[in-house]
């Protein structure tokens, strides 16, 4: 849509003189990222909202057709940059599904742990931002302090805090060290206390409850029909969680609950996310205490992950495998086929539809972004609410514009 068009649309509605057109974004503190809403207001009430997106479009899917399966993981970092680890896991899960690679038990558990830590960090930001937008600044800082702790864990693990690019085809870039395990253990000890504090701050806070309860109600039927997934769908009573329904990685081994609510409003979405963090902690605890020993990458015979240096220097198989993987035309064997694989990302179902054509690059790397379908819900959810509810609804959907636009 050109810039002039909303004005033209507004002009046709001139007969309804009492309607105001308000431009919200693309650069507004409460959009958190770059997206735009054109709101039709009747006094303070929102009659209609026209979402606009594409400001951050950088052609990630086109780039995905030109980078190898291992290179593209750096781009997935930049999709949902609130939880890049989850994107890494999703991308290589899809690639390994296409290639038919069975991961080692240790790698599965490590990926499960980092995916759950990413979920905690994502939910902390999302709930923190909802708190911030509705006036609870302390709550936001509590969340951000703990996000720093998770960033520290990731930094110790792979050297990068924000754009981790941690996974590789058939493995991960760095194995867990004793220091990483110690840091995760100390996080497991301290975080429940912060979570209690956060719940005490906000869950029964009169102002917060008034601002979010009954606002942006999404019924179960609408949630399914409009393609909502993840916490947004679960807050509306859809009991769908890919970790339980299609157990990938090591999730089948752990005891955890799927957190749901029936109300479907902003408050229910907040509650679901708060509860999911506790469940994630349980998963991380169980996974960490039962971390299998053994190699973290798949073996040389599968020829997908680079062999360890010791193998390269001391065995002929290692040398050949390392040499071939480094050559562009001798990489792994990719079937001429297409497959879809998804994980339960913090935000919803994050999947990749990957088409292989025999080369080490994807012929098509479609990302199924949960944010797009959630942002499409926005006009439906906001109609009839007041202008001040816009930020509450927008925050509770947890829209990440970089994932939205890709």
């Amino acid at each position: 849509m050109s810039i002039a068009e909303p004005r033209a649309a507004a002009a046709t509605k001139r007969s309804e003189e009492y309607l105001w057109t308000l431009n919200f974004g693309p650069q507004h503190p409460a959009t958190h990222t770059t997206l735009r809403l054109v709101l039709q207001l009747e006094g303070e009430r929102v009659v209609d909202a026209m979402p606009e997106m594409g400001y951050l479009h950088s052609g990630f899917e086109k780039i995905g057709e030109h980078l190898t399966f291992n290179q593209y993981v750096t781009v997935t970092d930049r999709m949902n940059y609130i939880s890049p680890m989850a994107n890494n896991v999703a991308w290589h899960h899809a690639v390994e599904t296409l290639l038919g690679i069975e991961l080692t038990p240790r790698c599965k558990v490590i990926r499960t742990i980092i995916a759950e830590l990413a979920r905690i960090s994502d939910h902390l930001l999302c709930n923190g931002a909802v708190g911030l937008d509705t006036g609870a600044f302390t709550f936001f800082l509590y969340g951000f302090y703990q996000r720093e702790v998770i960033y520290d864990i990731f930094e110790t693990l792979c050297g990068a805090r924000f754009t981790n690019s941690y996974t590789r085809v058939g493995g991960v870039s760095h194995d867990f060290t004793a220091l990483v395990i110690e840091k995760i253990r100390s996080f497991l000890r301290t975080f429940p206390k912060t979570l209690d504090d956060m719940e005490r701050l906000l869950t029964r806070n009169r102002i917060f409850v008034e601002r979010t309860k009954g606002v942006g109600v999404l019924s179960r039927e609408e949630a399914i029909a409009r393609g909502a997934t993840g916490p947004v769908a679960r807050a509306s009573g859809v009991t769908r969680d890919l970790r339980k329904d299609e157990p990938y990685l090591a999730y089948a081994d752990y005891d955890f609950r799927v957190c749901c609510a029936a109300a479907g409003d902003c408050y229910a979405r907040y509650l679901v996310r708060m509860q999911e963090m506790r469940e994630s902690l349980r998963i991380v605890e169980q996974a960490l205490e039962n971390l299998p020993a053994g190699p973290v990458n798949v073996g040389i015979d599968q020829r997908t992950a680079l062999p360890a240096k010791a193998q390269v220097y001391s065995t002929i198989e290692g040398t050949i495998s390392h040499f071939e993987l480094a050559m562009s035309n001798r990489g792994f064997e990719v079937p001429c086929a297409e497959s879809y694989a998804a994980i339960e990302a913090p935000n919803g179902e994050l999947g990749f539809y990957v088409v292989g054509d025999g080369s080490d690059r994807a012929y098509r790397a479609r990302c199924r972004p949960p944010s797009v379908l959630h942002f499409a819900l926005f006009p439906y959810l906001i109609r009839g609410h007041t202008l001040s509810d816009v930020v509450a609804v927008l925050g509770s959907l947890n829209i990440i514009a970089a994932e939205l636009d890709r």
């Binding site: 599904t97 296409l98 859809v238 299609e246 001429c336 297409e338 497959s339």
Partner: protein, 175 residues
């Protein structure tokens, strides 16, 4: 793989629907790949087929996307639309593909059946130039309306064709 065997058990339940929709609407069954059930449907009957599938329990439209098979070895058609369906009640999944060709790739919109298709189809129109008949609001989703190309087509270069430098510049006065 574990997830494949898990997919295979749920796929066993999906087979009747896959066969049913293939028989009723002249589609082709595809052999499952990595435990994923697939069916190809003819473009002219997708709307009835979608209604049938939704009534059969596939209430969640996970994704609508497209693949341009221009440079794909052995491909018979230019475009392959991909609909990823899921059933929330019993966790089945089904991949439906619809093949289209130039010069005017058009297919019936899935938006009346699954409202989730609205923006997903807009993105496919934006990126591949496929028209969806019966779509309520088929505008570009990500790129501006002044953009003329469909950049995820295989004949569009990675570097673009210089559109970015030739966009009309709006100033505060003439905006």
């Amino acid at each position: 793989m574990d997830e494949h065997s898990a997919g295979a058990t749920s796929a066993a339940a999906a087979t009747p629907a896959r066969d049913g929709v293939a028989d009723l609407f002249g589609g082709t069954r595809q052999p499952p790949f990595r435990g994923q059930e697939r069916v190809d449907l003819p473009a002219d009957r997708v709307r009835e087929a979608f209604r049938f599938l939704r009534d059969d329990g596939y209430d969640l439209l996970v994704d609508v996307t497209c693949v341009d098979y221009l440079e794909y070895r052995g491909a018979k058609h230019r475009y392959g639309l991909v609909y990823l369906l899921a059933a929330t009640a019993d966790n089945r999944r089904l991949t439906v593909r619809v093949f289209l060709d130039d010069p005017a790739p058009t297919v019936a919109s899935a938006t009346p059946v699954w409202p989730a298709a609205n923006w997903l189809e807009r993105e496919v129109w934006d990126m591949f130039g496929i028209r969806f008949e019966g779509h309520p609001d088929l505008r570009r989703l990500l790129l501006p309306e002044v953009f003329t190309a469909h950049p995820l087509r295989k004949d569009y270069p990675l570097q673009g064709r210089g559109e970015r430098h030739n966009f009309p510049i709006l100033t505060r006065d003439d905006g």
